[in-house]
């Protein structure tokens, strides 16, 4: 079944948008929207019929002049938040998005303090010739 999904992915029957910039936006959005019947795949690579319909819908909404954010929230409203592979930054999502930077800064501060005390002890040392 996985194979069928993957094979079908090769052959999407949809027509690309005429405007290359708009089509590029569509391709980018395909990477951010999850196929609802597959296991965690973006609609870009899924060949399930639902995924094809979802891709057509993305292109239609772009053609209708909607912004990326509006399209994302349309899909979230229709299929639930888990359809977006770019998790929302609200609620727990704020923690998710803030984590890498916060962890890095806290770690760096801890290292700095630790290193500063080591550094004072190291002042008197000769350089190791290695």
């Amino acid at each position: 079944m996985i194979g069928a999904i993957i094979l079908a992915a090769v052959m999407g029957l949809e027509t690309p948008l005429a405007d290359p910039a708009a089509e590029k936006r569509a391709q980018n959005l395909f990477m951010e929207i999850k196929c609802v019947v597959c296991q965690g795949e973006p609609i870009a690579q899924s060949g399930a019929e639902v995924a094809a319909d979802m891709r057509i819908r993305v292109r239609e909404e772009i053609a209708a002049g909607k912004s990326d954010a509006a399209i994302r929230s349309d899909f979230a409203a229709r299929y639930g938040d888990e359809v977006l592979l770019r998790p929302s930054a609200k609620g727990l999502g704020a923690f998710l998005w803030a984590f890498p930077l916060v962890a890095f800064v806290i770690g760096a501060l801890a290292l700095w303090r630790n290193a500063a005390s080591r550094s004072r002890r190291a002042q008197a040392l000769d350089p190791d010739p290695d």
Partner: protein, 669 residues
Amino acid sequence: MIAELGLLFTCAAFALSIGQALLLTQAARKGDAALLASGRWAAGLAAVFATFALLALIAGFLRSDFSLAVVAQNSHPNKPLIYKIAGAWGNHEGSMLMWCLVACIYGFAAASRAPKDGRDESWLDARAAAVQGVIATLSFAYLIFASNPFARLDPAPLRGGDLNPLLQDPALAIHPPLLYMGYVGMSVVYSYAIAGLWSRAEPKAWAKAARPWALAAWSFLTIGITLGAYWAYYELGWGGWWFWDPVENASFMPWLAGAALIHSLLVTERRGAFADWSAILAIACFSLSLLGAFLVRSGIITSVHAFALDPARGVWILGLLGLATFGGFGLYAMRARGEQGEPFAMVSKEGFLLINNLVLVVACATVLLGTLFPLISEAVTGATASVGPPYFNATFGPLLALGLILAPAGVLLSWRRHIGLAALRPLLGGAALAVVFALAAIIGASAPWLAASCAALAAWLLWGAGVDLHRRAGGKTVGESLKNVRRVPLRGWAGVLAHAGLGVFALGAGVETSMRQETTIALAVGETGEAGGAKFRLDAVETGEGPNYYIDRARLTVTDGADQYEMAPERRYYWAARTPTTEVAIRDTFGSDLYVAFGEPVGASGGKVEAADDKPRWRFRVNRNPFVGFIFGGSALIALGGLLGLIGRLGRGASPARAPAKTAESVKA
């Protein structure tokens, strides 16, 4: 009959692993060389019996013995020989048997390193082999009681199900063994860390003993992950190579922690610093390997790659994971020395290696959080969420870039003491080269910012690797260094190649990700179309038959600039598994791959009608994937660096670790 023998061999290996753990523990406690010898025998025999067990399973696959449940589910008489053999580990039960076998081999190798007369006061190798015996024992218990590969079916079915056709591929046949040599290799590093805490040995001693294992495990993991990515690239027919899928993340987390560990162990071994930190990382590496196994096999997180989903097995693995993690950290809490090690300045090799570790650990924690976040979110707030490539690219990318920018500087700094930023002067050329590369990419190839910055990073890292090599060769001029370059020891090459490989990889990944082009065309036989800047003529669509599949093959004549060549992408249908697959045709043209996947007919044959005429037209997906080779080539260089570091150490035996650097130094002086 052979299956019963296989189970018997497995039980024998199980019992011997228990013996290995008990005998070596006693040997270490009493300092008894005779017990050590018996323990070594037990470890060796366990490995031998585990090998026999795997051979018995392979025999079951070769003879297509469908009374065996795993064979019936995963094999077919018509399957090619190599995939019958690989089929033995292309399923949950068989792969766990392979896990146990690798654990036994590593256990025996560790036991064999123990000095026979007990010269080693802290009995590090013996203790590590004892811990390894415990790990093998628990793995065998899981194998025998929760996933017996030799379980029989009664009545036996007449035909088997076939191995998942996507896995019937040379790269995927050797991917699991390599990955397991990586995962289980991390268990040996864990065992040495535990042995170090247990014996209260000098940190330098256990770090020195553990580092070759860490290098080996990490290198195998690198090769395994690279093969998996390469396989995804050519087999899934989509043109991508990394999806931030939970199963990929499961192998990537131990890799990141392992990369931090080999750098941290370097400091512990050379300077005695970061001893506690290295122990934490070693425990974390193996825990992350087990967590990966748990995520992949329990079905708790769904993924396209996951196989053998079974919650009951998940509970077992979770138990092992809990034991290894809490046991390890518990011992750490009791025994950690809390020593600072020798002092060092902030701008020194130690300081930069600390930053390296910070970057890698935060990156690893980010991947872990992103992978588990859907579960956390659902448990905490009940809200479902997905975390995919947009999150990982946005968070992991900048962290990695920071690490790569600092790497060449860290390499040139001195241990311990701030020797002034003059040490970094040779890198000025690299900075200039990076700017030139970025400008050339933007102006010359109208590259997007991601590709341009990755080109700059690549220039910076390659220059840095060159400076490092120049310094290690010790010549006053570049020409003199080139003459001396053969005198640079293998260990010296390790860092040079691995860091250069990172640069090559960054270039490939950045350019491929941001400059990939994709078009879909439909052609009737005899028709010509244009896609990806090349002309395609569909000459014929022929049908054929492989050993266990039918083939539709498109014959395309491609005119690409002045070149003309044939491409023949295929679609296959594996009739036993009832699964279609795609075999893309790839043509490497000056660094950029022309990648053609063959789709279904449209028009006359019942598909959505596109053309007015009755002739069926066939869909082709054409990708231009620039610099794809750099991604896999760079990864291969990284792995090669790790392996050279390993070989360089093994070849030099027990001689002092610092000799090669001194040699380079004396040449310079």
